[in-house]
Amino acid sequence: MLSVPQVLLVDDDPTNRVVLKHQIKKLGYTYIEACNGVEAVELFRNHPFDVVLMDILMPEMDGYQATRIIKELSHGFVPVIFLTGLTDDSALARCIESGGDDFLTRPYNHLLLKAKLESMLRIGRLYKQVEFQKNELNWHNARMQQENSVAQKVFANIIESDMESMYPGLKYSMSSMSMFNGDLVLAELNQSNGIDILVSDFTGHGLSAAIGSIPVADTFRTMTRKGFAFTEVLVEINKKLLRILPTNMFMATALISIDRVNQVVSVANMGLPDIYLCRGQKVIHSFSSQNLPLGIAQLSSHSLSFEMQTLMLDDVILAATDGVMEAQNSAGEFYGKQRIVDSIEKSDSQNDLFGNVLNGCVSFIGSSKQNDDITLLSVQHKQDELVPQEHQDTSRHEPAEWSMHFYLDAVNLRRFDILPYILQGIKQLQSIPGTGSELQTILTEMYANALDHGLLKLDSRLKHTPEGYMEFYNERSRRLAELQEGNIQIIISHQLREQGGGRFTLHLYDSGDGFDVKQVRAALETNKTPYGRGLALIEQLSTRVQFLGKGNAVMVVYDWE
């Protein structure tokens, strides 16, 4: 809008123009005159106008025609007021039809002309303001969309990884209701030749929900790779979330830890719906939530509740966020627990259980609106070989000779799990080709043997029954907390080999009573016991295993090339 409004004055009668010019001047507006429609259109093309006063009957081109063209040429809203001596209704109707915004009948009333001009100019200003705001909004919107898509890429890079190829039998589906997902699935191979999976659901959805997943992903990956127990990982994630999340935000989560050495699954459920363990298309156990979601209150590894169950080949563990339970159909019904269980039981085999539940949910929702992020995950217990992971350090250090010695008394053993630190230390000193996970597994099993059986005198036969695993674990926690005396020594050395590569020699001594090696070996060979797998695994993975003394010392040799 010009600072002084400019009027296009169109009339073929010079006298009429004189009268109007006079009045327009008095109002303080500027004007340009045209004697007919053709001139008016030409002027309109080349000058900005805020309002047009248009006569109807003119030579060359009449006012109706000129108005139609002017309206087509206008960017934005330029009001046209018809000036007419005609008073019949049909003529006035034609004014409006041809695009006119108002009309004024001769003879002009000075006050009425002023009022009409002012009111039209006001509408024009309003129109321009709306136009300006619309453009501004469009601009902001475009910028926000662009920023969102960049953020989305960054987010995806941090969160996503190719988990299904990481672990045999792992399947998941995530469907987010907005650009950013408030649900989160993470997985990392653990020290037990298995996998730790974190399924999470933040309060709300969209960006605010997604932003919390970044520190969670970071902590989970780093700590699990370093060999920390899942309980420690959860405690640490909780600590972080407690610090960064506002009071009304939290993360419902479940950690599924599969131990392929002992064929057992542990599930810590913190606010997610039941997680199912399925065998032969039947739900044989539900892992219900036993803990507060993360990010609400302090959590220690002692106060964390979880359950353990033995696993058989082809068993399926199925987890879903509440978006699945609360998925609504067009009738407003929830998908609910029972439909999930029905889908499981109606599956033809364990293999299509995941697909059945997912399809069931998707077809249930149908065309109704999704109102929460939906995540479904299943992992089928298989014994396939694991594929080495990309993230693991494949660079090889030049072999070097070194040794390290740890002496841990009861206080140290009670206080924390030193193993991840030792494993990290080894990696720093001597990264070896491949994953190095074999060495990790060997050391983890040796340490568990020394601590669980040597010092804590736990009986593996507890693990005979499915409930036994949990009992074993609880008893272990209790005895460890009360441990007053005893020690474990770990000596790890690395030598060069003539043919290249190197040799790790691991010595572990515990101050316990030892065990009858022959008897355990015999038991292992004659029947498939659910325990003693650790020992079998060490023998399988290492170059040589030798028990010394009364069974309280063990030496393991592990060669690499």
Binding site: N248, A252, S289, L292, I296, A297, E326
Partner: protein, 101 residues
């Protein structure tokens, strides 16, 4: 859906009753029901008897109320949720941090 707040005669108890769906749309109303109240050593009661649905943001709102209450030495009690609502509260283990009837 609506939020109604009722202060007891002795000014020691505030009952917040949520009808229908308890979700993010009640955020302002729910907070408004207590935020200007100076209730020292009293009790907040969240009456869920007529609540048909709660989502996670409703759980978050109750956590905010808890924080507010505890800063003034008051406690929060969740009153008579329907079975399906109770189940959601139990999944979130809210029975461990609230008095849940």
């Amino acid at each position: 859906m609506s939020v109604k707040a009722l202060l007891s005669d002795d000014n020691k108890q505030l009952t917040i009753k949520v009808d229908g769906r308890f979700d993010f749309s009640l955020h302002t109303d729910f907070r408004g029901a207590y935020k200007d109240l100076n209730l020292a050593n009293g009790e907040f009661i969240v009456d869920l008897s007529a609540t048909e649905f709660v989502d996670s943001s409703a759980l978050g709102m109750m956590l905010l109320l808890k924080e507010f209450a505890e800063s003034g030495g008051s406690s929060v009690r969740i009153k008579t949720p329907r079975p399906e609502i109770r189940e959601i509260l139990m999944i979130a283990s809210f029975d461990k941090i609230f008095k849940l009837e």
